[in-house]
Subunit: 335 residues, 2 copies
């Protein structure tokens, strides 16, 4: 038997927003799995802002995707052939299978998931890297205490939505920042944030003044740019700024806009700290168990935005940068 | 008896570099000290980059100096009249006496100093706020470990020179950044840094690459701007950036230049933290004792740059922003 994998490979390093010509679509015949390998039929692909960074030829926390390589992505799938003792045909698995319909894996970094417990895409969201990122970035780097004020940008996005919900679980006053009235409604009514500032239609600084009367103790930044600056200007003493992402800057063609108000760190004896989820691998099981518990108890909502058809990948990815998704954006391989 | 104090008062909020018209020189008759007060004849005034910030009408770590008020400054002097049980005529004292020749004090924040141990101006430098700032910013915020690479900007300045020397005492590889060949020579030959990059005549990024082959573990920033950006680009994993000052930005008439490379914090899981020396008041005695010990043992050099004549204050202050001082800049009141 032989399998054809439909793949998106990186064809060129994008300048600004990735365009169609930055991708090469290819139908590649995969070899049969060798000893210790298995074949996965990919069902769902995680679409993440971080993918934009992986396309740049720059030193980062992970090597860039090489030109001509299948685009890196977290994904879910079902094992359809196996010569690996730990994975059997029919197993549902999560791993870095890339933007393609089928993948050969040796099992490294692959975990089994159980579709009877939660809908599959949730394993890319709250119960995947997204939820883990929110968990460790908020709790380990932000270290919020009950009663403190936590502000989360990208609050209607995948990581932000989870981070704010966890901050609520920890007894914090939680203010989101999101783009558009509908997203803000969702953040407050569905996710339970105390307030949400619509940066597209409101003055963010004024909103922060209203909703954070005692200043911001933890700012969970997913966006960078002007919103980071507005939050810096509103820090409380000894505030912690968590740099989780900077989606407003990922497609910059010139220099990244640095935070002009960074001296607020000095005035407030505050810190700004970056995090990368890969550092927490050893603690994934404990965190995943806690997240699953909250989810099962209904204390955490798992918002997933599923778009369909692998062929639409180049366009689907852009939804992230256009702010068109609410919650975790997942590409279902089937049309 | 009555005493005339020659004073510099803040006349206007400066735009950019302070100019003569931002100051009012006044000869003010002081009242006799009341019960619990004493009169100080000021001998030496500390000139600090931070003074520029105190002139702005902005929320900061300390209220701004009001228009019409004597300019705030740390200073040394001799008690010449006293109705305070803790201070006797002839005592040498250190306190926030301001930019003036005489001051009435109630003793708050005033400490006695001993001119027989070290030259008086050293009590404004290594054994004053300058040394304490370097000590706590480096050791408490930067937390350098032996063998790590520490980079200090403003290395020929008051705080930077002490910070780098302490880092050397702690067994670090220490690289300074300073403006001009003579300053760099001083930083290496006199202060004992391992290397110094002349930002006026060298490519800072290239210099950092040469002198920090394993990256920067602690960056002690006194300057902000392009140099902060160059250092961010060279951070090691888990690096600590200490925001102690930003002299390149204090006279900016537009927006402060934020660090464009701040996402290096994410890539390297690094932190950038501000500090204000006033938070460490309770630990001043322990730190001052340790600094005095190092000084007595000859393990720490106390570089002081004394300029004379209170009347020259407006011009003397600008030496800081023109980079004309080496070590602690002190204004001797006598001509």
């Amino acid at each position: 038997m032989s399998t054809v994998s439909r793949q998106f490979r990186l064809a060129a390093r994008p300048v600004g927003l990735p365009k169609d010509s930055d991708w090469e679509y290819r139908e590649e015949e995969l070899p049969d799995p060798g000893e210790g390998e298995f074949l996965v039929a990919v069902s769902h692909i995680s679409l993440d802002p971080a993918m934009r960074g992986w396309m740049n030829d720059a030193r980062s926390y992970i090597p860039p995707v090489g030109i001509g390589e299948v685009m890196r992505a977290g994904a879910l799938g079902e094992v359809v052939a196996s010569r690996h003792p730990g994975f059997a045909v029919g197993d549902h698995v999560s791993g870095a299978f890339g933007v393609q319909s089928h993948a050969i894996s040796d099992g490294q970094g692959v975990t089994e998931v159980d579709p009877s417990k939660v809908p599959l895409p949730v394993y890319l969201g709250v119960l995947g890297m997204t939820g883990l990122t929110a968990y460790f970035a908020l709790l380990d780097v932000g270290r919020p205490q009950a009663g403190e004020t936590v502000v989360v940008s990208g609050a209607a996005g995948a990581v932000g939505g989870v981070a704010g919900q966890i901050a609520k679980l920890k007894g914090c006053h939680v203010v989101g920042i999101a783009g558009g009235a509908e997203k803000c409604r969702h953040v407050v009514e569905d996710l339970g944030f105390d307030a949400c500032i619509d940066y597209k239609n409101e003055d963010v600084a004024a909103g922060l003044k209203t909703h954070c009367p005692k200043g911001i103790d933890v700012y969970f930044d997913n966006v960078g740019g002007d919103i980071l600056d507005a939050c810096l200007a509103r820090l409380a003493m000894h505030a912690r700024v968590v740099i989780c992402g900077a989606i407003s800057q990922y497609n910059a063609t010139g220099k990244v806009t640095g935070p002009s108000n960074y001296l607020a760190l000095l005035v407030n004896r505050a810190s700004m700290t970056g995090m990368v989820i890969f550092d927490y691998v050893e603690r994934f099981p404990e965190a995943a168990a806690e997240l699953a518990g909250w989810l099962a108890e209904g204390r955490l909502k798992a918002e997933v935005d599923v778009v369909t058809d692998l062929a639409t990948f180049p366009e689907a990815l852009l939804k992230l940068f256009r702010g068109e998704n609410t919650g975790k954006l997942v590409l279902q391989v089937a049309a």
